[in-house]
Amino acid sequence: MTIPFSYIIRNLVTRKVTTLLTAGGMALVVFVFATVLMLEEGLRKTLVETGSPDNVVVTRRSAGTEIQSVISRDQAAIVENQPEVAYGASNMRLTSKETIVLISLTRRDSDKSSNVLIRGVGQTGILLRPQVKIINGRMFRPGLSEIIAGKSIADRYKGAGIGEKLRFGKREWTVVGIFDAGKTGFDSEIWGDVDQLMQAFRRSVYSSVILKMSDPAAFQKLKVRIEGDPRLTLEAKKESVFYAEQSQLLSNFIRYLGVALSSFFSVGAIIGAMITMYASVANRIMEIGTLRALGFRRKNNLSAFLTESLILGAAGGIVGLVLASFMQFFTISTMNWQSFSELAFGFTLNLSIIIKSFVFALIMGLIGGFLPAVQAAHLSIVDSLRAA
């Protein structure tokens, strides 16, 4: 047996204020750490879920994003006629030739404006994205200046609500529907009829062509054919991969910032824990010596003090995670530099983040308590009894 757990716990409880401050410091660091991971995960989830694995996005080779991509009408026709394309109801080919335009809209809560992505789609565009659902109003009609707006755009921008009107491309457009695209990137877009938009913006080329494959396993064959066709100079990517790649830059930025921030703060929290634990050892020198005289070993004292600081770390971890879990109720919107448009995403907590944050908290406790615990174990019995 070893030094009883109640002895360790009660020593922490006795020093209420110090314990709370030390654990509180670690809780803040864990909060920052977990929040950043949650943000990165939220972004990843948003963009990965934007794409479906059986959809293929075809863009100009090395364009990177749809905005920089250009596909001529002839090229689009070739792509649309690939044999892997799936058929929908009434033998309609499930493809969508799309065009992307960025316009500047003014926020409802301030006079600041941001770029918002307008996607011109065919009537099939919505069939290709089952995650997009009209929750208010109706779908735009082809041939009219009608648009539908993603929920997060409708909520945040002037003129984007149902029944409101927006001016762009020298025309007035009526918002006839609001769609909910879940937590995907489409939620931050406005959709309209592709032909109407190309007319308004005097465009003769598409940005991308989206295909639904009848058999996702045939993707490699399709890709090789499209990318090998000398008439095309296009590339094909699975939609899920396409959107995941778009989040890379922002995701890396969030991760590096988060790691830098939490390592910086963790140094403070570890020093705090170390000071607390050194004080704890200094206040209990007589007890350490007495325990040894009674027959307890150096390692018993070592593990008692390590346990004490691990408990501090664990308490900090739990509190920090509880605080961080409240962040799930918030949505953040920021500029995605790869598409130059607004992107709304949330904080997503998952088991892996919980484990990482908790381990991080325990490591802080362990590092903070290590030297004090070693000091406690190294004291000679006679010296510690004389110190009383």
Partner: protein
Amino acid sequence: MENFSAPIVHIKNLTKSYRRGGQIVSVLTDITFDIPSGEFIALMGPSGSGKSTLLNLIAGIDKPDSGTLKVGGIDIAILSEGDLADWRAANVGFIFQFYNLMPVLTAFENVELPLLLTQLSYKERRERVELALIMVGLSDRMEHYPSELSGGQQQRVAIARAFITDPVILVADEPTGDLDRTSAGEILAILDRLNSEMEKTIIMVTHDPHAAKTAHLIRYLEKGQLDVAD
């Protein structure tokens, strides 16, 4: 109650010095004496004469420089640190001037502490601890924390902790040094009972001639040497 069988403590030509700031301070120069089993001995002498040092050596929490140091027939000077810890847990009970109780543990838990190093079940430990606290007259204070007890009561808890494992020797370093006359009297009475009824060998360091009278034998330590009292 003399016992002329093999001595429980056998010390021969024992020396001990400390290093302090590069200088070697000789504390015990040449100690030779035996303590018979079942003895109650008081160690007296001026401050700094090495009484605590000698007691610590006998109790196995410090190591001599040279000489023979046998307790209960075991040469404790050559035991490894771990073996010595086990030996102390089984054979020595400690009583300190300032009681040295764990402030966050109750009287019961303080007395139970040494039993956590044994194989006893919780039920067995509970029975033993309750009995020990009854013996020192604190059956109604088991759940009290040290801060809720008087000095004399704390020292009685400490004595219960010292004999709970049924050790062969009890070492007490100025056990009444921090107590008033009445409390000191109670402590000495308990020590006397432990010696006469439970046949514990007790080695007590004290400055108090009154306390020393409770012991059956008084030894004086002066300048690292032992003198037999008249």
